[in-house]
């Protein structure tokens, strides 16, 4: 078992990081916000954490705190222009933000540009990644039973009716965006510190697409579903390597299958079976 874990440690690390990213997106989705800026928040935090470590000698905890704060600040600023957007308009606007962030990372003088940023300390191993995932999972489980979680669910279900019972739905959307950004920021710093090297391309639209697919496959409003979806969609490309050039087809086929036959994702299937 230990040998198996050691052989596949990079894959397990990737599952943990992708699970954090899926959790970060699921928070916004719980409020009904299709805000697709997680890859951008992840990238911003990754660069803040990497530059802090390489140029200023910050340790991993300092890098995580700084990266998460930077991502939270970016989310709060992003919420100003997009606060009134919903649905596909919100999705397009946040994807646009992601592209702006990626291009800024290419052109900023301290990021290493398109060549990437290297020599990042390799101090985020499997224990650190899974400690962050466990802490996030526990926090979300506790939060899930709170009154705040009910306001998020009500906002998702019917925004006008939610305002009608006294819920400031704009504030709910802002808080979920910022909370999701913090988690994506933690994932970004861990990603950078687990891989020694990052480029702006690591945080572009394909990454965002990967996070969204994990959430859809897992179940968009379930923490456990997000984690399972991330695990499935991280392992799947490795498991179907024998398909060579066609292996990306398996991702699309699974996504299509869930959308058509199990829109509640893995969590929905689980709940249906339990009931």
């Amino acid at each position: 078992m230990l040998q198996f874990l050691a052989q596949h440690s990079k894959l397990f690390d990737q599952i943990g990081i992708n699970a954090l990213l899926a959790l970060s997106l699921s928070i916004s989705l719980r409020a009904g916000s299709l805000a697709l800026a997680q890859a951008a928040f992840m990238g911003l935090a990754a660069y803040v954490g990497s530059i802090g470590a390489v140029n200023y000698g910050w340790n991993l905890i300092e890098c995580i705190v700084a990266g998460a704060l930077a991502a939270a600040a970016a989310a709060a600023l992003l919420a100003l222009p997009i606060g009134r957007l919903r649905g596909v308009f919100l999705a397009i606007a946040t994807i646009g933000f992601g592209e702006i962030a990626r291009i800024a990372e290419i052109n900023a003088p301290i990021t290493g540009g398109a060549e990437g940023f290297s020599n990042i300390p390799n101090d985020a191993g499997t224990p650190a990644i899974y400690a962050a995932l466990a802490a996030t999972g526990i926090a979300l489980a506790i939060f899930g039973r709170s009154k705040a979680a009910l306001t998020i669910a009500a906002t998702r279900e019917d925004e006008s009716a939610a305002r009608g019972v006294g819920i400031d739905t704009g504030a709910v959307r802002l808080r979920t965006l910022v909370a999701g950004a913090v988690i994506a920021g933690v994932a970004g710093v861990l990603y950078a510190h687990a891989n020694f090297f990052i480029t702006p391309g690591d945080f572009g639209f394909p990454r965002m697409e990967q996070i969204l697919v994990a959430c859809v496959v897992g179940g968009v409003t379930s923490s456990l579903g997000a984690v399972l979806g991330a695990a499935v969609m991280t392992v799947l490309p490795e498991a179907v390597r024998f398909l060579n050039d066609y292996r990306e087809v398996s991702t699309g086929a699974i996504l299509l299958g869930f959308i058509l036959f199990a829109p509640g994702g893995i969590a929905g299937l689980w709940q249906r079976r339990a009931s």
Binding site: A153, S160, R163
Partner: protein, 242 residues
Amino acid sequence: MSRSTGADLSIERLAVRYGGVAALEDVSLRVPAGTVVGLIGPNGAGKTSLINAVTGVVRASAGSITLGAERLERLPQYAVARRGVARTYQNIRLFAALSVADNVRAGAVRLRGALDDAAVRALLERAGASEADLGARAGSLPYGMQRRLEIARALAGKPAVVLLDEPAAGMNPHETGELRAVIRNVAASGAGVLLVEHDMGLVSAVCDRLVVLNFGRTLAEGTPAEVARDPAVIEAYLGTPA
């Protein structure tokens, strides 16, 4: 019975205009705490526009809306609700995928603490929905039960005033009879009730006073008996003989 903190709702010279169309013009009415005021009128008279203006869904173009000593007409919708104005909707707007219990609890988010199951059951009983399963999806309930659940959600926040927008729509006569007791019960708890309804039997039975709107203006006001005799009301509802 959990009591509401009653306060008079006063609407003075209210106007609501959508572009060049006047939905309400110069409408004034009062809903004293502990009373039921009916708001009636033909379709398009402006009844729902008035409820939407009071609750902050639409902005009043002119006039004032006051709850107790507090002005409401410039507040956003959620802030109006937090000050104790609750409502139901002409077309039911429950949180359909949430449980019955969570729908009721959502109605109490303005209060400190959370409602336990016993409090949720008590509210459902007040709204005549005691047989509802707390864990059932709200959207899966029969239509009449959804109406009563919406009333329970409105009562959960201990409102000062409750605005009921056609609560008897789609209910059978037996359910309407039960609704009559529910509405009187709400008023007896200290809350004011503004009832928009087409069922004149229900309106006459539960309302202390009636306000009649026609083409966005006040046509008549008085007790149900006075309004029923008013020639202008008779003409608006029934037309004049040729």
